[in-house]
Subunit: 452 residues, 2 copies
């Protein structure tokens, strides 16, 4: 069995279920549960997870002494990412951005560089910097990058290092990422490589960044030949997810973040998937309580997986469901034409289609995936004009390629189960690609995204 494969549950299973030792030495809660209950995620296990998450929160809450909620706001949630001496808390709440006390608690030295972009800066930069300056004897500098995935390059990153060096920041400085996933990834890598390692803090301002890119320490920039090809595994000191910042987020960006929440449901948590089917419109309408629930669950799932496999030797790769197809879509069009979540949405539909063609999932899962993503206003096919050759070419430089063999995250078994494998009939991959470039799609629909 390929390392990193979650226990497949379909009738075609002809290989042994992996022991928990396949991963990083600690038992994977999902696997432990499956071994006990025959591949079904029962209500009891959901209960266990909730209890465990609540316990972690309580422990962190007492250790970290989080801010008391502002009058009229919901009490903040805290998810702990458990990585030994690199552990850190994710604060999820309302009106956290101007509570500079939380950020300053995690600043190591006396120098702060806030990295943000031209869209976010006019909204939050001034008050954020003011709050930090009032906190204590911090020297606070800032740098404003152009906005958009197409600027996630080494050339633009250089501006951060230029600013840091012009400001004479030393290696104990803290870089704060104030923005979406692009700003978070770039700032993290800038900090990782600055004098061989400064500190950093994530203040995500998009749903996508809150549920995915700010958690787990993947940082980096794109290369013309591939997404996130240059980067580092580098953990922040804390993450601050403030629901207030989502109020100014454009509809399209908000919706694209929901893709990643759907992903957590598909790969790990059928209860979250069911909840999304009931509540996706609340998320689109920016209901704070619903949003905090979705972000909390997503972060908790990601934190569990990252704690098991920080450097993506195994189970962490499952978080890339839809991403290999999605990256090909982004690369073929040029970064920034589609949003990341949009490309992942179409990619997840392709992965589901391929899983179905392999006989690994029931058609019902494909259908529910397509329906949910459509309600979340996400594309369910690749862009018109994209060719099979483009898929083949861009997928072959994916980071999950090992010694020349393409590995994919595919669904396998009941909802909430997946596998990372290179062990599939390559013709089936060709069939999926052919169907989607011909815009037949999974459901025979040729719906195109609202983003073209």
């Amino acid at each position: 069995m390929v390392a990193g494969e979650l226990g497949p549950c379909s009738a075609t299973l002809d290989r042994p279920v992996p022991t928990v030792a396949s991963f990083s030495g600690r038992p994977h809660p999902l696997l432990v549960h499956r071994n006990k209950s025959g591949c079904r995620v029962s209500a009891a296990s959901q209960q266990t997870r909730r209890v465990r998450a609540a316990t972690v929160q309580a422990q962190v809450a007492s250790a970290e002494a989080p801010a008391i909620p502002k009058p009229g706001t919901l009490p903040p949630k805290i998810v702990n990412v458990d990585l030994g001496d690199r552990s850190y808390p994710i604060y999820i709440g309302e009106a956290l951005l101007n509570d500079a006390e939380i950020v300053s608690r995690h600043v190591q030295g006396s120098q702060i560089l806030v990295v943000t972009n031209t869209t976010v800066a006019p909204l939050y930069l001034e008050s954020f910097v003011k709050g930090l300056r009032e906190q204590g004897a911090f020297k606070v500098e800032s740098v404003i990058l152009p906005d958009g995935e197409e600027h996630k390059s080494l050339q633009v990153l250089q501006q951060v290092w230029d600013k840091a060096l012009e400001s004479r920041l030393d290696r104990k400085a803290t870089f704060v990422a104030l923005g979406g996933g692009v700003i978070g990834d770039m700032t993290g890598f800038a900090a990782a490589a600055y004098q061989r390692g400064a500190s950093f803090i994530q203040v995500p301002t998009t749903v996508m960044a809150m549920v995915d890119s700010s958690v787990g320490g993947k940082t980096g920039v794109n290369h013309p030949l591939g997404k996130n090809m240059i980067g580092a595994f580098y953990q922040p000191r804390c993450v601050l997810a403030d629901m207030e910042t989502l109020k100014s987020l454009p509809d399209r960006e908000l919706a694209s973040g929901i893709s990643e929440i759907v992903k957590y449901g598909l790969i790990f948590d059928p209860e979250l998937f069911n909840w999304l089917e009931e509540n996706v419109e609340k998320l689109l309408n920016r209901d704070s309580k619903a949003m905090m629930h979705a972000i909390d669950r997503s972060c908790a799932i990601k934190a569990d997986i990252v704690a098991l496999d920080e450097r993506e030797g195994g189970v962490r790769a499952t978080l890339n469901l839809g991403h290999t197809f999605g990256h090909a879509i982004e690369a073929a069009q040029g970064y920034g034409v589609w949003l990341h979540g949009e490309a992942v949405a179409a990619g997840m539909v392709m992965a589901a289609d391929m899983s179905f063609r392999l006989g690994w999932i029931e058609p019902e899962i494909c259908k529910r995936t397509v329906e949910l993503l459509k309600r979340a206003k996400q594309p369910i096919t690749p862009p018109k004009g994209m060719t099979a050759e483009q898929f083949r070419s861009f997928m072959s430089v994916d980071k999950k390629v090992q010694d020349g063999k393409l590995r994919l995250v595919l669904l396998r078994g009941p909802l909430g189960n997946c596998t990372v494998t290179g062990d599939f009939d390559p013709q089936i991959l060709e069939d999926t690609i052919s169907a989607f470039v011909a815009h037949e799609g999974i459901s025979g629909s040729s719906d195109l995204p609202n983003t073209q």
Copy 2:
């Protein structure tokens, strides 16, 4: 006492000697020894060190099953860098370069990218690549960078990533640095950031790279505002130091590497310093046996220090004796005008001068340092025309600056003792800078290097 300070031994000592726990939790052999014997490095302790080194070598030798020496060559020495699961061996010998079996033993995947430069490529690349290809089913690619410190930039580094991606190398690929310190530093950082971490191997072809830059995992590139400002701590899988490659090294480069060997004597090993005073001409004449001894001792000292303090939280900073002054010299002139070792030589003389002005060392140490470096054909003053303001400006962005305070490595006590401290009268630093920019120098000599 500032963390990272080695126990000062001078009469001005008014602070407690640090306990060994000041460092990384393991006893520092030097400190342990000093606490026992009152700041003097005795013959007995030298004996202990030799025995310890020999034991380590024997252990590694049996574990690593090193190559049997080729007929007519000296038996290879092996120094182990002890960093837990990131430990690796340094092989020091003759005719190792074409013994592809050793390198291939440390290659993880099936893909190799050899990174070299326009000077080294015509000498060794073809036979090296041929040897690797003959070893097994390796796909071997290579990229040839322009030679020189002035090309140690992000822009040039990009060529490595371009080549890796064009060659479809995956994250299990191994990058091999075939060249001097610049190639080693750049290749290491290229590997560290490639898909968030590929493997790498060092094959240093200069004395400087063998005794310093290839050991300990410091990688990176220069920024116009400072040397090595962008990089990572990233350990190689092994280091291969082949004396054969030094035969083609230009005299000036060979001599500049001797600077760093002198440094190990000054900060740690009076016996090595004494040996150099007797044998420096043998090194200049490329005597293999003498060179292997000097490289072996230097690597063993550096390996010990790196094992104690991989990320330079404390004692590792002592390896930067002369480097803060030296970096200022390199930056002021533009990288590549002086060789790194030349700048460090002048920097060590300045550090010794300042240590003497502070009353921390006897004048004899200054004198012996100047004499030895002159015999090694190294500059002992900064270049003509360099200003005090340039020193102040470039030294203030040094990585050893913490929260705005400049810390320096200075000599303190008998030969072989040093300290890392920001606790000095800044006027003394000014006095040293003034004396040297006026070319009074330490000895009143205004000798200029043979490199202008």
